[in-house]
C-alpha cells in the first residue's frame, strides 16, 4: 500500500523515479491544492503564480504594406499577413513601426534587426554584440529558482541558431529536435556515479513513458488531491503521454506492409528546413515547452521557428525563403512576391499555433498564457531591402495581468529598445532605462501596460 506523501514533498511539485539507477523527475503543474482560494497565488507562500517570459523568432520579416494594421488601438482590422492570428487575436497585441536606430552603425544584414531588438542597440560589428540579450537579463532575475534558467529550442533544427547570448562567446545552444527537448526536460536529471556509463535510450523512455517511471510517487500524490486536481493531473498526464506517443512514432520505423516496398529506415531525428518538417517539429516543441512551463521547470524560453535569413523551403526545392525574398520578382498585380510571402503566412500560422498551445493550458484562475508574456519578432521588416525600420513585433499573454492584449500600437520610427524596457518592467526588473547609444530610452510603451 502506498504511503502518503509528506506535505513538504508535495510542495516540491515533483514526481520522482529512476531508470537503471539514474534519477528522473517529472514536474507537476500548479494544481488547486497548491493555490489559494482565488487561484492566483501559491497557498503556502502567498507568492503569485510565476510570470514567464519568452521570445519567438522567425526570419525574413514581412511585407509592411500587407502586415501593418491601419488603425491603432483595439478592434483594428487584421491585414492580409495578420489573418493567420485571427483565432488568437484576443491574446496578442501588435506593435508596428518600431525599429533599430542605426545612427551611423552599419546595418549588418539579418543580424542588426534581431540583436538590436534583443540587446537594446545596433551591434557595431558582425561578430560582436553589446551586452546580454533580453532573455538573459530576465532569466538572471527570475531563473534561479527553477531547474532550468531558460530553455532554448530551434524548430528548424539548427542548434547554433540561438539568439540567447550573454555575449558573442556565450551563446545558449538550442535543442534542435522535439526529442532532444523532451529528453532535456523529462529525461534523466542526473546519473548515479556508481552505475557506470548510462546512455538513456529516448525510444525506451518514450515507449515506457516517463510517467511509468514515477508511478509510485504519482500514486502517493493522487491520494492527497481533490477531484478537480485529479482531473487536472489526468489531463496533464494524458497530454504528456500523447506527446510521448507522437515523438515515439517519429523515431520508429513504420510497420511492414505486404503490398508496398519496405520503406527506408528513417534516420534518427533528421534535420531539415522543409517547412512541413519545421511546422511539425515546432508544434511538438511547443507542447513540450507548455508542459515544462506548467511544471515550473523553467520560466524563460526562446523559440526560433526559422533563423534570420530564413532557410525554410518547400520539399525538394533549393529556393529558400531568404533566396526568394531577393530573387523572386514582385507580381505586378498582387504587389508582392507570392512564393516568399507564403513563408510569411506559414510563420504567422505557426505563431498562432504556439499562442494557442500556451492558452490551452489551464493554470489557477486563468491559463499558462495569462501568466506569461511572449515577444514575437523578426530581424527585418522588408527582407528584400534588409530594412530594420518598422520591424514586425507582437506580444502574446498578459504577463500576469500586466500587459494589455488585443491592441495595435504604432511606433512611428522609435526604437525597439522601448519594447525591451517595457518587457523587463513587466517581468518585475527594476529598470528605469535600457538600450545604448541612439537606442537608449527611459520610456516604456504605456499603451500596452495595464
Amino acid at each position: 500500500m502506498s504511503r502518503r506523501i509528506t506535505r513538504r514533498r508535495l510542495l516540491e511539485r515533483t514526481l520522482r523515479g529512476s531508470l537503471a539507477g539514474a534519477g528522473l523527475a517529472v514536474g507537476l503543474p500548479y494544481l488547486e491544492i497548491f493555490l489559494n482560494e482565488n487561484g492566483d497565488a501559491v497557498a503556502a507562500t502567498g507568492a503569485p503564480l510565476p510570470r514567464r517570459f519568452g521570445t519567438w523568432f522567425y526570419g525574413c520579416g514581412m511585407n509592411p504594406h500587407r502586415w501593418n494594421p491601419a488603425e491603432e488601438g483595439a478592434g483594428f482590422e487584421l491585414t492580409p499577413e495578420l489573418m493567420p492570428i485571427g483565432r488568437v487575436r484576443q491574446h496578442i497585441s501588435v506593435l508596428s513601426g518600431f525599429g533599430v536606430i542605426l545612427a551611423g552603425e552599419t546595418n549588418h544584414v539579418h543580424r542588426t534587426g534581431v540583436l538590436g531588438t534583443l540587446t537594446g542597440g545596433a551591434p557595431a560589428t558582425t561578430t560582436e554584440n553589446d551586452g546580454p540579450t533580453l532573455d538573459i537579463l530576465i532569466s538572471d532575475a527570475i531563473g534561479s529558482s527553477t531547474r532550468f534558467r531558460s530553455l532554448e529550442m530551434a524548430a528548424h533544427g539548427v542548434a547554433k541558431d540561438s539568439y540567447s547570448r550573454r555575449n558573442e562567446n556565450a551563446i545558449q545552444p538550442a535543442e534542435p529536435t522535439p526529442v532532444d527537448l523532451y529528453m532535456r526536460v523529462f529525461g534523466p536529471g542526473f546519473t548515479d556515479p556508481n552505475a557506470g556509463v548510462f546512455e538513456p535510450d529516448p525510444r525506451a523512455i518514450l515507449r515506457k513513458s516517463v510517467l511509468s517511471l514515477v508511478a509510485e510517487d504519482r500514486a502517493r500524490v493522487e491520494k492527497q488531491l481533490g477531484q478537480a486536481d485529479r482531473a487536472r493531473l489526468d489531463e496533464y498526464f494524458t497530454a504528456l503521454r500523447q506527446l510521448e506517443h507522437q515523438l515515439e512514432l517519429q523515431l520508429s520505423a513504420p510497420p511492414p506492409l505486404e503490398a508496398c516496398q519496405a520503406p527506408q529506415r528513417p534516420e534518427a531525428e533528421p534535420v531539415s528546413q522543409d517547412i512541413e518538417n519545421v511546422v511539425r517539429n515546432h508544434e511538438s516543441m511547443a507542447r513540450v515547452l507548455a508542459l515544462a512551463l506548467a511544471c515550473d521547470q523553467t520560466r524563460v524560453f526562446n523559440v526560433v521557428f526559422s533563423a534570420g535569413a530564413s532557410g525554410l523551403h518547400t520539399a525538394g526545392s533549393s529556393d529558400t525563403h531568404h533566396t526568394l525574398t531577393h530573387e523572386e520578382a514582385k507580381d505586378p498585380k498582387l504587389g508582392y512576391q507570392p512564393q516568399a510571402t507564403q513563408f510569411v503566412l506559414r510563420s504567422m500560422e505557426a505563431w498562432a499555433k504556439f499562442v494557442e498551445i500556451l492558452a490551452s493550458v489551464q493554470e489557477g484562475d486563468g491559463t499558462l498564457l495569462d501568466h506569461a508574456v511572449v515577444l514575437c519578432h523578426s530581424e527585418t521588416s522588408d527582407a528584400n531591402s534588409h530594412s530594420v525600420t518598422g520591424l514586425p513585433i507582437m506580444l502574446a499573454g498578459t504577463g500576469g495581468g500586466r500587459v494589455r492584449n488585443g491592441i495595435h500600437v504604432r511606433g512611428a520610427g522609435e526604437t525597439t529598445a522601448r519594447v525591451g524596457l517595457t518587457l523587463q518592467q513587466v517581468m518585475g526588473l527594476n529598470v528605469a532605462k535600457w538600450g545604448f547609444k541612439a537606442n537608449e530610452t527611459s520610456r516604456p510603451i504605456s499603451q500596452i501596460l495595464v
Binding site: V109, T127, K160, G311, H313, S318, E327, A412, G413
Partner: protein
C-alpha cells in the same frame, strides 16, 4: 510677373536678407568666442567679407528611376548566374542547404561548385551578353554635353549614344546609367532599388552624411556668382524622433580632403541654382558596402525653396571603374558578397563588366578613344545645416 508673385519674391528676399544678417551676427559672435570655429570659409573671422557660406545636409539622395514604362525591355530583363548556370547553381544551393542544416554554417559564394566569381575577377567568365535599355524614354537628367546625341549621328564615335527626353520635354538628356541598369530587375520601378529610395535608406542608414556648402549667396533667388562645394561629413545624418533627417544640425567635415570637392562656380536665376562641372568623391557606407562614389564633371540644377531647402538634380559622369567597384564591392564580415549582391539585384557581373564600356559616354581615353565614364543623374533634397571645419593642430 503678377503682383502677388512680386510681393512673394520681395517678401522672400527680405526674409533672406534678414537671415543673412542674423547669421552674420551669430557667426561673428561665435568667432569672437571660439578659437577653432566652423566659419565655413576657414578664414580669419575678423576679416569676413561678403555673406557667410550656407551649409546644407542631404535629406534625400537617390538615382533616377523613371516610372513610365512604354514597352521598355522588349527582350525581357537581364538574367543572373542562377539562370545562366542552372545546373551548377542547383548543386551549389543544394550543398549550401545541406551544410546549413547539418553544420549550421553557410558555405562561401566562391565555392568550387560554382563557376569562377566574375564579380571578383571579371575576366574569369566569358561575356554572357547583357540587355541594355534601348530606345526613347522619359528620364530625368541633364544635357551634360549640350548636344541632343544619337548613336548614328554624323560624328559617331565609340562614345556615341542616344539621348533621352526629360519628363518636362527637354531633349538631349544624358543618362547612360539608366540605359545600363534599366533592364535589371532590381532597378525596375517598385523593385529593390526603388524601394530603397522610397525608404530613403541611403540617408537614414548611410554612415556619412552628404553636405553641400554655398558661398557668396547674397540672394537665394537671384545671384549671378556663387560657389558650391560637396563634402562628406564625419558622421551620419541626424534623424528626428520619427526617423527623418533633421535640419539646422551641425556637421563636422570628414578630415580626409579627398571627400571635399573643389568649389564649383554657379549662379541662381529665379530661384534655380545651376553650377559648372566639378569632380566629386563622397563616402558611401551602408549595409554591406563601405566605399566612395566618384562623379566627374558633376553639376547641379536645383530649386531654392522658400523654406530654405534646395531640391533638384545632380548630373554628371560616373567614373566607369568606380561604377564597377560600387556594383560589386560588398562584404559581410570581410567575406566578398559581390556575387550575392549581383543576383539580389538581378544581373551577372561578367555581363555588366563588358557592357559598361559599350554604354560609357564621357571622358574618352586619349589613346583608345573609348569613353571611361557613364552619364548619370540623381535627385537630391538638401536641408539647411551647419558645416563645421575644425582646424587641425600644427605638428612640428
Amino acid at each position: 510677373m503678377t503682383i502677388p508673385m512680386q510681393r512673394k519674391i520681395r517678401s522672400t528676399r527680405a526674409i533672406a536678407r534678414a537671415r543673412s544678417l542674423l547669421l552674420a551676427i551669430v557667426i561673428g559672435l561665435g568667432a569672437v568666442a571660439c578659437d577653432e570655429a566652423g566659419t565655413g570659409a576657414g578664414s580669419d573671422p575678423a576679416a569676413i567679407t561678403g555673406p557667410p557660406a550656407r551649409g546644407y545636409v542631404m535629406a534625400r539622395w537617390y538615382d533616377e528611376i523613371p516610372h513610365d514604362d512604354p514597352g521598355e525591355c522588349p527582350e525581357g530583363l537581364n538574367i543572373t548566374e542562377v539562370e545562366y548556370f542552372p545546373n551548377q547553381w542547383k548543386r551549389y544551393m543544394t550543398e549550401r542547404q545541406r551544410v546549413r542544416e547539418a553544420e549550421g554554417r553557410f558555405i562561401r559564394w566562391d565555392h568550387e561548385l560554382l563557376p569562377p566569381d566574375a564579380c571578383q575577377e571579371p575576366l574569369s567568365q566569358p561575356d554572357p551578353g547583357y540587355l541594355t535599355l534601348d530606345g526613347a524614354a522619359e528620364v530625368a537628367g541633364l544635357d551634360l554635353d549640350a548636344v541632343d546625341s544619337t548613336k548614328e549621328g554624323a560624328d559617331s564615335t565609340p562614345c556615341a549614344h542616344d539621348d533621352f527626353t526629360s519628363p518636362e520635354g527637354e531633349a538631349g538628356i544624358d543618362n547612360q546609367a539608366w540605359r545600363l541598369m534599366g533592364c535589371v530587375r532590381g532597378y525596375r520601378p517598385n523593385d529593390l532599388m526603388d524601394r530603397l529610395h522610397q525608404s530613403n535608406t541611403m540617408i537614414k542608414e548611410g554612415g556619412y552624411a552628404i553636405l553641400m556648402e554655398i558661398s557668396g549667396m547674397d540672394d537665394p533667388l537671384d545671384d549671378d556668382a556663387v560657389e558650391v562645394q560637396f563634402l562628406s561629413a564625419a558622421a551620419p545624418a541626424t534623424l528626428d524622433a520619427v526617423g527623418d533627417p533633421m535640419e539646422n544640425v551641425s556637421f563636422t567635415v570628414h578630415p580626409d580632403a579627398t571627400y571635399q570637392s573643389e568649389r564649383a562656380r554657379g549662379r541662381i536665376e529665379n530661384g534655380v541654382l545651376t553650377t559648372d562641372p566639378i569632380d566629386l568623391r563622397l563616402k558611401i557606407k551602408q549595409q554591406t558596402q563601405d566605399n566612395a562614389v566618384y562623379y566627374r564633371d558633376a553639376r547641379v540644377r536645383a530649386k531654392v525653396l522658400a523654406d530654405g531647402r534646395i531640391q533638384g538634380l545632380l548630373g554628371g559622369y560616373w567614373d566607369s571603374e568606380n561604377f564597377w567597384s560600387m556594383m560589386n564591392d560588398h562584404t559581410i564580415g570581410g567575406t566578398p558578397q559581390g556575387r550575392n549582391a549581383a543576383f539580389n539585384r538581378g544581373f551577372m557581373c561578367a555581363g555588366l563588366y563588358h557592357a559598361i564600356p559599350r554604354v560609357a559616354d564621357g571622358h574618352p581615353d586619349p589613346t583608345t578613344g573609348r569613353c571611361t565614364s557613364i552619364s548619370m543623374a540623381l535627385h537630391f533634397e538638401a536641408k539647411p545645416a551647419f558645416v563645421i571645419r575644425p582646424r587641425l593642430a600644427q605638428v612640428d
